[in-house]
């Protein structure tokens, strides 16, 4: 056998052959990376398992029909106890409605301004500043909603027409919190509307306002819808603001001036008390949590589908 020179013939073939165990360290690393990615899948399964296994325990005692019957109250503190989740859902709908009334016009106006009016430098400066609104800890908004909006503004302004804990103070702060979500996601959608369309409209003698609202806005409408869905999902899941400022009285009302309780507000209330494991109070936490999870899941998936369609339309 020759000792010198590069390998040839069968030696070369041998040298190039795939050897799965040549680098065991590297294979171990890849396995570790797969495990990292698996953590996220495991988290999802764990969430579903935890929520639904205890929710099933809840539904063994309280019937499905009782839970979803709009005629039943949510009355867990004293007898006769009643678990009609509709009151909590309507509380959530209440704050969602009013926070969107506040955030939608402002958020869309901000998106149009940033995408169609602002100079590049202005946008570069303004957008992160606006996004900071979403980064403020929600307990801070909760404090402002209760002490400033409700105590210092709404009560002196509206007097006896508004209760100390009210949906409006929570909704105003929720609106400020989701403003950047609506603005930012809608702005991205508007920015990806092709330049051609703007030029066509300007070429026909449209003003900036007309280009923005009659061409760009309709062309970006699906992206804007996705922004709204994401914002709603965020409001529905927000806990601290509503728990602190909106009250803790389940209430079948869409009025912004009354005290209400949302699904998250109830969940936090249970956590602060000491419901013994296995009691209906404890398992109701999981039933409400499961419903909340399903609602946000549907909204998020819908938003993702819309965004994907929108991208396909323009890319």
């Amino acid at each position: 056998m020759a000792l010198a020179g590069p390998p040839d013939g069968s030696d070369l073939a041998d040298a190039l052959r795939k050897r799965p165990l040549r680098r065991p360290g590297e294979n171990l690393i890849v396995v570790a990376l797969v495990l990292c990615a698996a953590v996220s899948i495991a988290t999802t399964f764990a969430i579903i398992y935890v929520l639904f296994s205890d929710a099933i325990g809840f539904f063994r005692e309280i019937s499905f029909w009782h839970f979803f019957n709009p005629g039943n109250e949510w009355q867990t503190l004293f007898d006769p106890r009643s678990f009609g989740v509709w009151e909590l859902v309507l509380g959530t709908v209440n704050v969602t409605l009013w926070s969107m009334v506040i955030a939608l016009p402002l958020g869309l106006a901000a998106a149009v301004y940033l995408s169609e009016y602002a100079h590049v430098q202005t946008r570069r400066f303004l957008k992160p500043l606006l996004e900071l609104l979403a980064g403020v800890p929600t307990v801070v908004y909760a404090y402002f909603a209760l002490t400033f909006i409700s105590d210092d503004v709404l009560l002196p302004l509206l007097g006896g027409n508004v209760s100390f804990f009210n949906s409006l103070s929570a909704s105003i702060m929720l609106g400020v919190m989701i403003l950047p979500i609506i603005a930012s996601v809608s702005e991205d959608a508007m920015a990806s509307v092709p330049r051609d369309l703007r030029e066509a409209a300007y070429g026909l003698g449209a003003t900036r306002l007309e280009v923005a609202f009659r061409v760009v806005f309709p062309a970006a409408i699906s992206g804007i819808m996705a922004a709204i869905l994401l914002a709603i999902a965020r409001v529905i899941g927000e806990t601290m603001i509503v728990a602190v400022a909106a009250g803790s009285t389940p209430n079948l009302s869409l009025s912004p001036l009354e005290s209400i309780q949302t699904m998250t507000g109830y969940m936090l209330q249970v956590a602060l008390g000491d419901a013994a494991r296995g009691t209906t109070d404890y398992t109701s936490l999981f039933a409400v949590g499961a419903l909340l999870f399903l609602m946000t899941f549907v909204l998020n998936v819908a938003a993702q589908i819309i965004v994907r369609r929108f991208r396909e339309a323009y890319e």
């Binding site: 002490t147 602190v244 494991r277 909340l292």
Partner: protein, 302 residues
């Protein structure tokens, strides 16, 4: 067509007249209307910030920072909640970041382009939208009860780690995907293995993005309240967390929880304490956000 009629005119005027003038007036006005609407949210925040500073600054002194919580507003401080926050956040980062970066590396560099990868991606996008209180329930059921960790620092850190995981995976994936493919090809062409390429070239290139994402995730975890209350961290803590392995199993409180605690007290004296706590919290959160911007700009330039 009437285009022919206009030809008889010798000259035209191009000043805005009639309906065009009206439309242009609206268009010009809309710029200011929209700008005001854009700034309104920020103006609200500034007003709240000023109000908060007026209420909170008088209470903000060394005693406030170094005292434990108390039944008496003027003696209450945030020592245990600051230490608790720092301790929980340190472990949150230690637990979450390696897993997040690992998952991102697998997704971008090693994963086969098939349904599994698509599932993982969709799953992470959905996890990012799960409300924090649900992570709190997960933490309560799995870490506090099932693993019997109790409402401890470790249980809190594990819960927050799961909560920030999707967000950090998404920013890491983005950072890794922005490393130009030519760098990978250059390294692979020199006979480096895929892992050597990732370790020596891709990760250093993605570092600014990963670091920025990490800092923003820490900012989010630092302000989290609901998930930690769910696992039972709403307690009265008048001791420092111990700097030992056993300390991981101590119960704890955090700054946002302390602020919440003071906010819901009926006695008005505590309002000043909450405001002062908010100043500290906001300085930390804005500081982290600013740090993220600086890190991104600094490292991107290098």
């Amino acid at each position: 067509m009437s285009a022919a009629e206009t030809t008889t005119q010798a000259a035209v005027t191009l000043q805005a007249e009639g309906s065009v003038a009206r439309r242009q007036t609206w268009s010009r006005a809309s710029r200011w209307i929209l700008l005001v609407a854009t700034l309104l949210g920020l103006v609200v925040l500034v007003i709240l910030g000023i109000d908060n500073a007026i209420v909170g600054i008088p209470s903000l002194d060394w005693d406030f920072l170094s005292n434990y919580p108390s039944r008496f507003a003027e003696r209450a401080g945030i020592r245990s909640s600051i230490l608790g926050s720092v301790w929980v956040l340190v472990f949150t980062v230690i637990l979450a970041i390696p897993v997040a970066v690992g998952a991102a590396v697998w997704m971008e560099e090693f994963a086969p382009q098939n349904a599994i990868l698509t599932t993982v991606r969709l799953n992470i996008a959905n996890l990012a939208g799960v409300p924090s209180i649900i992570y709190g329930i997960l933490g309560l059921a799995v870490f506090v009860r099932l693993m019997e960790l109790g409402p401890s620092i470790l249980a809190g850190a594990l819960t927050l780690a799961l909560m920030i995981l999707p967000m950090t995976v998404i920013t890491s994936v983005e950072a890794i995907s922005q490393v130009p493919p030519s760098i990978r090809e250059g390294s692979l062409a020199l006979g480096a293995t895929r892992w050597q390429t990732v370790w020596n070239h891709v990760l250093p290139g993605a570092m600014p993005g990963i670091l920025t994402g990490t800092i923003l995730a820490v900012a989010r975890a630092a302000g989290e309240t609901a998930a930690l209350i769910m696992i039972g961290a709403f307690t009265f803590i008048a001791f420092d967390p111990s700097l030992s392995f056993g300390g991981l199993f101590d119960s704890f409180t955090t700054l946002p929880i302390q602020v919440y605690n003071w906010t819901i007290r009926p006695q008005p004296e505590f309002r000043a304490n909450a405001a002062a706590g908010i100043i500290v919290l906001m300085v930390a959160v804005i500081g982290l956000n600013a740090l993220a911007l600086v890190v991104r700009d600094r490292l991107r330039r290098n």
